[in-house]
Subunit: 151 residues, 2 copies
């Protein structure tokens, strides 16, 4: 068995499933896209090994993890021109380290509240170009992961 | 005028105020504690210079920033024994880079929801020892900031 198998936690969703549409991976982490119709630009950086807290990673691992988060943020800013990027590592329900990277728009469902807050309006951000933008973003993230060297 | 003055944004709360009880600082960032009776273990790592997104920092600055976040997390885990740590950089309302570092407990007001979500119970986590624990944590964070070398 490989390292992933040894460290896998019984019943942990992110030990046993990718956790969304797999966009790409390095040796230590993967990026998935979340299928949320209200938030088309919603990705997660998921650490492969089961650790519950950010400080469960070594310093070089933390740097690698946050550079993956920063790469997704940079590509999102360039391609989607969101009002704001939201970053979060919560894990109250699934305590397997994963970073939410979410493009927020002034007219999205919860803005300026966090997406976990109270809805502010019914309509969420709709853009006819969004599917094509997301497809391009997926591809750009996939390629950029290839250039992200794990420690 | 110093760098902080030149970069200060008119009307930005975190350019013009510490943003909470100042616990300590490095040359580039500060740690403040948020006065929230439901969340005694709630700190923010605030970048001094006005940048709105995490990627507004250089890579060495990002590392310094996240090592401050990790330091607060480590000391919180050691001293408060929370169920989970929540980390987030949102900035939808105050778009000046700041990281929330929040100790979460199974019986706190929103658990397992994010603190911005729907309240799950009226009573939040109460612990007679908490004020003393927080005072000790404040002091430990203050000291640890002195050992955190900016890039």
């Amino acid at each position: 068995m490989g390292q992933l198998d040894r460290d896998r936690q019984v019943g942990c969703e992110l030990c046993n499933h990718e956790g969304g549409l797999l966009i790409g991976r390095t040796a230590l982490l993967r990026v998935i896209r979340v299928a949320d119709p209200d938030y088309p630009g919603f990705y997660r950086v998921v650490w492969n090994r089961h650790v519950s807290e950010f400080t469960g990673l070594s310093i070089p691992e933390r740097v690698h993890c946050m550079e993956a988060v920063a790469m997704v943020e940079t590509l999102m800013l360039d391609r989607l021109h969101p009002t704001k990027i939201n970053l979060a590592s919560l894990g109250n329900m699934v305590s397997h380290l994963h970073w939410h990277v979410i493009a927020r728009f002034r007219d999205d469902k919860h803005f300026p509240q966090p997406i976990w807050g109270m809805a502010q309006r019914e309509a969420s951000h709709k853009d006819a170009d969004m599917p094509a933008l997301i497809a391009g973003l997926d591809q750009a993230i996939h390629q950029a992961l290839g250039n992200l060297t794990p420690p």
